[in-house]
Symmetry: C2
């Protein structure tokens, strides 16, 4: 038997799938949106998110779309409003990382 360290690395397939998702979250405004939604605890409209993030509507919508495309958020239309919610709980862990390790 050859000497061989057992590494048990996360497989590349997973890394390749996960990396772009994290990458997309790792954007100041998108993090702010996610932070707002996570602390808010309830689905929020675009307008509410705009106010909390102090950014233009078009920009917010753009970012929401990116996050929705990555299945980080889900959207639900009710009348003329669209409510966004965090769909992926890993977001919470990532935010927790940031809160705890500002040194990051």
């Amino acid at each position: 038997m050859l000497k061989q360290k057992q590494h048990n690395l996360i497989d590349m397939e997973t890394l390749e799938r996960v990396a772009p998702v994290i990458r997309n979250m790792a954007h100041p405004l998108r993090l702010r949106i996610l932070d707002f939604l996570s602390t808010s605890g309830e689905p929020c409209t675009v307008t509410k998110i705009m106010e909390a993030c102090e950014a233009e509507q078009a920009i917010i919508s753009q970012q929401l779309r990116i996050l929705k495309d990555q299945r980080v958020l889900t959207a639900k239309r009710e009348g003329s409003f669209v409510y966004y919610t965090i769909a992926d709980k890993s977001v919470l862990m990532l935010l927790e990382c940031i809160r705890q390790h500002h040194t990051l």
Copy 2:
């Protein structure tokens, strides 16, 4: 007193500082490097990292530099070898996120 929800959001300054660091980690090969270093538990040379990651030397060196620039890794030269170590423990949390939530 006006009705006002206390949100306690992570401030933008922090988000702007942290986002690019996470962004840089969120790359398949760089995640693999970090995963390898974290499970290896000891400082590793470029060659060892190359082998573990099955990638060209120049590419690995490039990635190592990016991670070092962001202070995610530190490097220590010993003779003609350079040993890399994880400098930022938040990496471990991020990797943990990935391990637990492959659904991310």
